[in-house]
């Protein structure tokens, strides 16, 4: 095939042919790539998902660590003291050599302030670490630098020039390149197409695939990473580890001044991490500044020059280049949240078992789930993100297909007819992890709050009793302290915390007795979090039982009577509140033997 002919074969057609028959496709592809990326196709094909398990343990360790940090931070001394904390708004004398200078950066979503007056400097050739727990504002910060969000206020200067980054293209033209946590690859396109997306090499109107393939192939050979990446393979068919390599390669193939790496090693083994670090060092020698985000202290020690610590959108500490980066140093920066008081007075007066689940298995993979909730009890369910803890809540509410087992509510088995409406009839209500799943954003507070109770409380033969509805909702709005207390307001105009309250109000109006809360404090501002803990503890006193699904260790330890830990879609352990310790929980969460 002549060169132009090859270029004319549309990608989609080639992919289609590839799917049609593996035999013919391999011929086709081989012809194409034999010149362009000799050999790499054939090698990569055999081992398509090889190393995904290797990355698994490492990932767990990472998760463990971030959980640990959250807990430690909650238990630490509330008063920040010592030489560790420095004045953040100190002016550098050698300003002119700064690669990037950020001053007073602020960003909020609705009333939730996610970045508050953040200052940040980056010198050429340094690796500046951003450190902080989940939700501290690191990702928002990087997204602003990449043109994903517009800041509310604050200044950004690159090499002394004040800049305005309104869209991703602005950021790219300034030489800022980022590797995001989610890789931002197009799964339907192949590796080569992704590597050059938006900056393809062209000959006249046609793609110069040969040149792109050559550069990419040389680059991967240069990496000596020992992983063969087939340039013609679709991203969706690659293992996570390989996807991460592609995402980083895409960034490094571009001309850049500032490199942002957000958790770049989450799927890597030590060896690959080491190779990445060599590349980072090479870049810094050329004067590139790197913003590095990671939770792994060992990595920070190895690669970081200095650290800025964020918490709740503020800069709370620095570790300068002349100080050592140690775990202690980092943890000191993560002092206790002043307003967060997880511990609630729990009722000790528990009644009989009201909800009992026996040997429940579902289509979505839950296996032999056994648990029970007593009257007045808060049962915590914890575990890793893919442990199946959310599936338990969904299954109980009839949102998962159930294969076998029993769900007994007040002694009666309802597993065969379980559906959201049956669950609601049995006065069980579910609060989804993604609160937007539960709300009709374009409608008002009132309509959202009464949606499940219209049938039994606010309508008579299908006609709405609007007066009664208004009275009931205004009572709830007052009780839950919804702001603004205007039930005609559309919920899309409310803050995250207040939206969550509307969903809670829904449960109260339904006069539910069994509550399943799934991650209700995620993405909620701190003041509201504390309110939620109080509300949940209050609700539990009168309820037939509360199931509280969360990934925060502090909530499991301090808000729950008993804790069920899920691992691999099974119940790993059930622990009584009095005997549960943090270490024990973490062990079970990771599925380790105690």
């Amino acid at each position: 095939m002549p060169a132009i002919g090859r270029a004319l074969v549309p990608h989609c057609l080639k992919r289609y042919l590839g799917q049609l028959s593996s035999v013919s496709s391999s011929c086709q592809e081989d012809q194409v790539c034999s010149n362009e990326s000799a050999g790499s196709a054939a090698v990569g094909d055999g081992a398509s998902f090889p190393d995904i398990l290797d990355g698994g343990d490492f990932q767990q360790a990472l998760r463990l660590f971030s959980i640990e940090l959250r807990t430690l931070s909650a238990l630490d001394d509330p008063q920040p003291r010592g030489t560790f904390f420095r004045e953040s708004r100190r002016l550098d004398k050698d300003q002119d050599v700064l690669l990037m200078k950020v001053r007073g950066l602020t960003k909020s979503f609705e009333s939730n302030i996610v970045l508050n007056d953040v200052d940040f400097d980056l010198k050429p050739g340094e690796v500046h670490v951003l450190f902080g727990e989940n939700g501290a504002g690191k990702t928002t910060f990087t997204k602003i630098l990449c043109g994903g969000y517009l800041p509310k206020s604050g200044e950004i200067a690159i090499e002394g020039q004040k800049v305005h980054i309104a869209k991703p293209a602005d950021s790219r033209s300034l030489g800022i390149v980022a590797v995001h946590q989610d890789f931002s690859l197009v799964p339907q396109l192949n590796v080569l197409e992704n590597l050059y997306l938006g900056r393809e090499f062209k000959t006249g109107p046609f793609l110069n695939k040969r040149k792109m393939a050559k550069e990419a192939k040389d680059y991967f050979e240069d990496l000596k990473i020992g992983i063969d990446i087939d340039l013609n393979k679709k991203i969706s068919l690659l293992s996570m580890e390989k996807q991460q390599v592609v995402a980083i390669a895409r960034a490094l193939l571009q001309p850049l001044k500032i490199l942002i790496l957000d958790e770049p090693t989450s799927n890597f083994t030590d060896r690959e991490t080491g190779i990445l670090f060599e590349h980072i060092r090479e870049l810094t020698q050329r004067g590139v500044g790197v913003i590095y985000i990671s939770h792994v202290v060992e990595e920070l020690k190895a690669i970081g020059d200095r650290v800025t610590i964020l918490r709740d959108g503020r800069v709370v500490g620095h570790i300068d280049s002349n100080e050592k980066i140690t775990k202690e140093n980092l943890l000191k920066g993560m002092v206790q949240r002043p307003a967060e008081k997880v511990r609630q007075v729990l009722t000790t007066n528990l009644g009989k078992v009201c909800l009992e689940v026996k040997n429940l298995s579902t289509d979505s993979g839950l296996k032999d789930i056994n648990l029970s909730v007593k009257k007045g009890e808060i049962l915590g369910i914890g575990g890793l993100p893919d442990s199946g803890k959310s599936l338990v809540g969904r299954a109980l509410f009839g949102l998962e297909k159930i294969l076998s087992g029993e769900i007994q509510i007040r002694g009666e088995d309802i597993v065969h007819e379980i559906s959201p409406s049956v669950a609601l009839k049995n006065r069980m209500i579910y609060f989804p992890a993604e609160k937007l799943d539960g709300l009709v954003l374009c409608r008002d507070i009132k309509e959202n709050a009464t949606l499940p109770s219209l049938e039994d409380k606010f309508s008579n033969r299908g006609i709405l009793d609007k007066g009664r509805e208004r009275d009931a909702v205004s009572g709830i709005v007052e009780k839950l302290n919804v702001k603004p207390p205007n039930m005609g307001r559309r919920v899309c105009y409310l803050s995250g915390g207040n939206q969550q309250k509307v969903i809670m109000g829904r449960g109260l109006l339904k006069e539910a007795k069994l509550f399943i809360f799934d991650e209700i404090t995620r993405g909620v501002d701190i003041a509201s979090k504390v309110e939620f803990y109080q509300i949940v503890a209050e609700i539990a006193k009168d309820a037939d039982g509360v199931i509280f699904i969360t990934s925060e260790l502090a909530e499991l330890l301090d808000l729950c009577h008993r804790v069920v830990i899920m691992y691999g879609k099974r119940v790993e352990a059930t622990l009584e509140h009095e005997y549960a310790t943090r270490e024990e929980l973490v062990h079970h969460i990771l599925g380790l033997e105690v």
């Binding site: 009333s111 302030i113 508050n116 709740d312 002043p338 307003a339 509410f397 949102l399 559906s419 959201p420 409406s421 669950a423 609601l424 009839k425 579910y430 989804p432 937007l436 799943d437 539960g438 709300l439 009709v440 954003l441 374009c442 409608r443 008002d444 309509e447 959202n448 949606l451 499940p452 219209l454 049938e455 309508s459 299908g462 006609i463 709405l464 609007k466 702001k483 603004p484 207390p485 205007n486 005609g488 307001r489 559309r490 105009y493 803050s495 829904r506 501002d525 701190i526 003041a527």
Partner: protein, 338 residues
């Protein structure tokens, strides 16, 4: 921390002080009022510059045309509200026209009244069936409403043509023509009164009943409706059935007006109904819409096409204008939303 809190507090206070965005007649009217100036301008231009516009004949004609379009648009709006849309309504008009006439025009009895009623029922059943199939396929198999109703548009039109042999069917009973076609009560066209009654009923249904509340919720966020224990499939199917029935009812009324069963009746209605619905403040994608807006939207569309008729603008150009209005309405709606 205290600074953050005080900022949050201040912001909340400001928010609560802002005039409230109530969902109700008033607000939805304001939403649809975006095109009111356009409507007034069109009326003024028509009144001042177009001959024969302000004649009794023409105004009666406009009332009739508005009624047909408003009824079919209300049906389309229901489907819009639950988050879908229905392209088959034009074909349903033709199908109903053919089925109704084929039954009503049988030569057995000389009393047209019974046959008219039986014919109308037959026509409406066929229209409801089309809606039922649309709704079931969309709700149960989770297929895009666009494709399903596009297919149904072809099927219904084909059935109508096949049944009629492609030619008009004559013999619509005099009773039907006199009551629903040219009839008027105290000088007001009967179809207009029917339209008003239909609008009031639908207004109550949407705003004062559980059913209406469920429609809004399903279109706004189907997941939320499912979590609230609502059988969303049932209500989505119901919306399509109602849409089919409204289209069928329009078909019956138009048949009475033209006096024959026409396999090509209602060709342009689908485009006009969509334009009227969107101009009237119905949100494409679900969750919002209102009856007064839709009726005014229908009035506007009819007014424009009436004026174009009066100044001898051909039907080809009229199609271009209608398509243009639909596009214009959707784009301005998107812009206003941001």
């Amino acid at each position: 921390m205290s600074k953050v809190n005080s900022i949050i507090k201040l912001k909340e206070e400001m928010e609560s002080a802002r005039p409230t965005a109530q969902i109700g007649v008033f607000r939805s009217f304001i939403r649809s009022a975006g095109f009111l100036p356009l409507l007034v301008a069109a009326l003024l231009i028509a009144g001042l510059f177009v001959n024969h516009f302000f004649t009794i004949m023409n105004l009666m004609n406009i009332m009739r045309q508005t009624s047909y379009l408003a009824i079919i648009t209300i049906g389309e709006m229901l489907v819009f509200i639950v988050g879908g849309f229905d392209l088959s309504i034009g074909s349903v008009v033709a199908l109903t026209s053919v089925v109704t006439t084929m039954i009503a025009a049988t030569k057995f009895a000389d009393n047209g009244a019974t046959l008219t009623i039986v014919g109308i029922f037959g026509g409406l059943i066929s229209a409801g069936l089309v809606g039922l199939i649309n709704g079931t396929v969309i709700a149960v198999f989770r297929v895009a409403s666009f494709i399903v109703t596009l297919a149904m548009m072809g099927i219904a039109a084909g059935v109508a043509l096949d049944l009629s042999g492609g030619t008009p069917i004559w013999g619509v009973p005099k009773f039907m023509i006199s009551v629903f076609g040219g009839g008027s009560i105290f000088g007001v066209p009967t179809v207009f009164i029917i339209m008003v009654i239909v609008s009031v009923i639908m207004y109550i249904l949407l705003n004062q009943t559980k059913l209406g509340r469920y429609f809004w919720a399903i279109g706004g966020n189907e997941n939320a409706a499912i979590l609230s224990g609502i059988n969303t499939k049932k209500y989505i199917i119901l919306a399509y059935v109602l849409c089919g029935l409204f289209a069928g009812f329009t078909g019956v009324l138009l048949t009475a007006r033209v006096g024959s069963g026409e396999p090509v009746l209602g060709g342009g209605l689908m485009l006009q109904a969509m334009a009227a619905a969107v101009m009237g403040g119905t949100k494409v994608g679900g969750g919002e819409g209102n009856i007064p807006g839709v009726v005014l939207g229908a009035f506007f569309i009819v007014l424009v096409s009436n004026v174009m008729d009066l100044v001898n603008i051909g039907s080809y150009i009229q199609m271009i204008v209608m398509g243009g209005f639909l596009m214009f309405a959707i784009v301005t709606d998107e812009i206003l939303r941001k």
